[in-house]
Symmetry: C3
């Protein structure tokens, strides 16, 4: 198919056209891998509570959807990562606390660069291990549960500005939580209570807007819509 | 190596040849990423019991190897996903049941596009979390265990038809199962009993053929043969 | 950006230059995917205690950093995999033992090919399931714990020799261990005791050199330095 394109590319005009198409295709391949790297790097920074580094991955005009709220713009992004999480998890510092685990494995990317090459959409999965080691005194433990598993999905948008890929929209949908001891067959109601119900500034660390409808968590099993059509039939999701 | 190719590509014939090779190489890179996407999309659809969408990923002339049986052609593929799994897991519907978890993480791809560019082989790993939330009444729970982990491997073949990559052969080898409570040190015999022993139509949802020898499950640790030679020595697997 | 390069590539000299750049870019893309494959293949061989196959992935002039020690050259690599691990895990054989699980999932690659195209650096994550099935008699069990989880990071270097990518430096940092029963909130001191304290030949299977400072394990949460600068700000890690 594409090979026959070149086989006929002996005329000068056709050669130039083939090369022009190749430049576009190679640019798209490079972008695909850069978007993967960007999301993988997001996960590695988040592991280590490097919230400044996380916030710097976002475009100026960006948003984060997290637990029922929308955090808008760099101010919203920083309120979530550099204020809410830092206050909640690391006692105000940028970097990991001894004895506090927050591993955010990133996996199963499906990246599509849009026509024009300056915007991309991607689905990712995360699989988390989190908790506090018993060597941390009880009164210093910041998480409600001592140790838990978490599985979730992202449907993100990325934008290339000045040649650099950045996160434009991070839409994280935690799907299931499970304490290490009791598992996903016994997920308590607690996690549902973390879904946002107040906005900023009423909630000092709250989102700019509430999601409507809000995130529903496991045992609800609704499908997070796919940004892509079916790869074989071409049918868009939801039609 | 390849750079010196172009350095001498100043003659017109050499330039055309370099461009022709580039088109082939870019096509192969694009195919590699499309095959990854295809398998990752398979995993996301399977998470949500979207069995119609799963079956549509397969070529007309395809097969699935699953738990000791070979399901042949689209009819066999549909018997497995759209009849057996749908009847077993989702009470006949296409889509997720509330309170039933079946996460199929896909990871660790090793994709090789064959010469000619229209067929590819790939090894993948899956890591699963499955089970039923306690809010589902006991009499409605469809799985034998309330919650379990599963690790497995794929050695799949993909084919490009009309420019679209599809699954030609899905060879899934579950390697280990573990209940959430007792782990892989205590895997019960139960899972081995799920290996197929009857074919269709004697078993309404059975495979067209039995694998001989059948799949052996953990604690058997046999190597699932690699489709690729050793990447440094070039030695094919098994020689 | 790159597209405008080609749009002006109608002059013959510019066309040749565009093609020369394309060859470099395609070579880098191919190398990126080959390095991923190489590390993923490392993981699949390690799953199955195929230590000969693992050792063959390394360059002649290579090193492995493992649990506080540096194993140097092919002799050191073989001492670790083909002597220490084979003696410790598989009773001297090359290949898996029945009832002994050692799954090494590889995930979350961030690969950067260096200028010149013959060396690459990559960060990977591993997530492990390991242990011995209860069907193995107690006196034949080789691991201290019956079943455990392990999470860790790699910061590796790869080199291309004679057109073939090989591992030049494997720097594995196990981050956390957890028994299946008690989890990462209750990781015992035991794992810290596995950090090397003697070198070869005093320790028959020991490293050539001790890491100074040695690896610290969970509940220590130090950041494993990133080989890459921040992808948006360009700021190198640690500055």
């Amino acid at each position: 198919m594409t090979i026959s394109e070149t086989e006929s590319a002996t005329g000068d005009g056709q050669l130039v056209e083939t090369v022009r198409r190749l430049v576009e295709r190679v640019d798209r391949l490079e972008s695909t891998l850069e978007v993967r790297n960007l999301q993988h790097q997001y996960g590695y920074y988040l592991d280590k509570c490097l919230y400044e580094e996380v916030a710097d991955l976002f475009a100026e005009n960006s948003q984060v959807l997290f637990m029922g709220g929308i955090y808008r713009g760099k101010a919203g992004v920083r309120r979530l990562y550099c204020e809410r999480f830092r206050r909640g998890f690391t006692d105000g510092r940028n970097g990991p606390m001894p004895g506090f685990l927050l591993d955010h494995m990133q996996a199963q990317d499906v990246v599509h660069v849009e026509d024009g090459g300056e915007r991309a959409r991607a689905r990712f999965r995360t699989f988390m291990q989190a908790g506090t080691h018993r060597s941390v005194p009880k009164e210093e433990r910041r998480a409600h549960f001592d140790q838990w598993w978490e599985g979730g999905l992202y449907e993100n948008v990325y934008v290339r500005e000045g040649g650099i890929w950045k996160i434009e929209k991070l839409d994280y949908r935690p799907f299931w939580h499970a304490t290490f001891e009791d598992g996903w067959a016994n997920t308590p109601d607690y996690f549902q209570k973390l879904v946002a119900s107040k906005t900023y500034p009423e909630d000092e660390f709250g989102p700019d807007e509430l999601l409507d409808p809000p995130h529903k968590l496991w045992p609800v099993t609704d499908v997070l819509p796919f940004h892509y059509p079916h790869p074989v039939t071409g049918k868009p999701w939801g039609e």
